[in-house]
Symmetry: C2
Subunit: 328 residues, 2 copies
């Protein structure tokens, strides 16, 4: 059985989802919806129609699941409940503090309209959340550590670009090796913000800008940089364009815990991602959950779920027998 | 709600399960069943009754779930279908080739008697299986690598002990660092048996035994050692007793895959365990799945499942709201 998929929103993530859907044997991309003029949007799959997003509800009978590829700040809080009225959906909502509200809104739309929605899917939240729930459930007595990077933080890059005199900037979040080593030793260290991550900035200046002043502005910026060891590299636009266009990312979730009658034994569970393309990998996770959502709805389920609520077998194109034979 | 738990079988694993159940706020150990004379068995929880296993069926109303701690070779193929008639059960069956038969037998007993059974839970199969299914579902185009160790292989230690002139022996399976590095580089290496693991043996000789001959016997032993780089250390009984009683183990599951229009991007998912106590950690996994099994049965489910069929939220003592707030 082929699952008919739509994509709403076609930035880096939408393109990553498109690649993942096209690579899946059982997923069939039927339409890409955009807020832009559809005729202006060139997508990878030339045979797939590009449709204005206002037309999306008319596709409700055609699509088994729609993958929402908007941003968490303003798009998804509106789009996910809205499109759950018409479709089974998957989103990558990642504004942690607003998840309870988002869950409630989407759950209501899903239950009222008989659709399944899975929210907050990707790698964090998503696969990292799975690493946390499994390791916490097994090692009840323990401590969690999450490290991000090495990878680009869009928010921190934007913050630098807003400084007068800055022409362009990329900020890499870098986990501190000594902190990772301390965690893995089982010593359960208490780690400050500064201990865990460093921030490395590559900045292209406008003509005549004051480098020393800008470096100081970056390093003392509250919330973004002041609490971290920050390195600033001033580079040419040419070097920037050549070496800092990548979308690599990754990180680590580690839980260390104790077992034994006297808590004498250390146990460590570590999950690591090392990604050349953050949006393509995230798109691959969304595609796997799209498969799950379509199947769950076929079974009569409705309402909002997260990765915590979905048995792993739903994510795989393989049958139960195949899974037990090859992956168990 | 407290979940009433029984344990059948009290070796290293049974003791590990006992510790895990006692450490869980919502699990309540009600009885330990043994084939031995119950009065001869001393368990850690002095207030918990030790009961002969023949009496177990009489406890079917008292226990929400029973954790089976026998061996995969001869115990579990009989015990799991048998006790699934009376209880919801969890086992750690790990004889890979026999899983389809075991699943079918247990599934039949579960469906006929309205009980849930989860088989093949632990770390491999178990958490490693989960790492495989999630990473395979996300990276459809990729390659899996599993490394075990550093840790004791009971089977290989036994094989050495059967050699005439050997008084005692422990064999450690050791992943080869160069192979791990090659996998992590994303080069998708083809690795032979010899490339992936080394075998390190610590042997105590009987008086007058021929060390050179025994070393040769070990290193050329078909299936067990001939295909590996094997190191043999002859040590005193005193050193053996002092340094080789531990039950540490662990390993790595790594999937590397490609994304991108031209498969130009490498993505790596790695899951790692580093365990001081293999049986205590395995017991902790079984206890988490016992919680899941009891809950699933309360919801009216029956039949056989594996870790693939169970949503992660069932493993945690936390509520859905708590999970979304703290672990998502």
């Amino acid at each position: 059985m082929s699952i008919s998929v739509g994509i709403i929103g076609y930035g880096n993530l939408g393109r990553g989802v498109e690649l993942a859907v096209n690579a899946a044997p059982d997923l069939d991309l039927k339409a890409v919806f955009t807020r832009r003029d559809p005729s202006s949007l060139k997508i990878l799959s030339s045979e797939v129609p590009v449709v204005h997003v206002d037309e999306a509800p008319k596709w409700s009978e055609e699509l088994d699941v729609v993958i929402l590829c908007g941003g968490s700040a303003t798009d998804l809080p509106v789009q996910t409940p809205e499109y759950t009225r018409y479709f089974n959906v998957v989103d990558s909502f990642d504004t942690h503090a607003r998840i309870p509200d988002h869950f409630a809104n989407v759950d209501k739309a899903g239950r009222e309209n008989g659709h399944v929605a899975v929210i907050s899917v990707g790698w964090d939240p998503g696969l990292f959340s799975l690493a946390r729930i499994y390791s916490n459930s097994v090692l009840l007595d323990g401590k969690d550590y999450t490290f991000w990077g090495r990878g680009v933080s869009q928010g921190h890059s934007d913050a630098i670009r807003r400084i007068p005199g800055v022409k362009n900037a990329k900020q890499y979040t870098v986990p501190v090796q000594a902190a990772l080593d301390a965690v893995r030793s089982g010593s359960n260290p208490e780690l400050s913000t500064r201990d865990k991550h460093e921030r490395e900035c590559f900045v292209v200046l406008e003509e005549g800008a004051d480098a020393a002043k800008i470096e100081n502005t970056i390093k003392t910026m509250p919330n973004y940089f002041a609490d971290y060891n920050t390195t600033v590299h001033f580079i040419s636009e040419e070097e920037f364009n050549q070496n800092h266009q990548g979308m690599a990312h990754g990180g680590f979730v580690i839980r260390t815990g104790k077992t034994g009658a006297n808590k004498e034994n250390n146990e460590m569970i570590e999950f690591q991602l090392k990604l050349d393309s953050n949006p393509e990998f995230t798109g691959s996770v969304l595609a796997a959950y799209a498969r799950a959502v379509a199947r769950l709805n076929t079974e009569g389920k409705s309402g909002c779920m997260t990765a915590f609520d979905i048995a792993p077998a739903y994510l795989s194109p393989l049958s139960g027998e195949e899974l037990r034979a090859h992956l168990l």
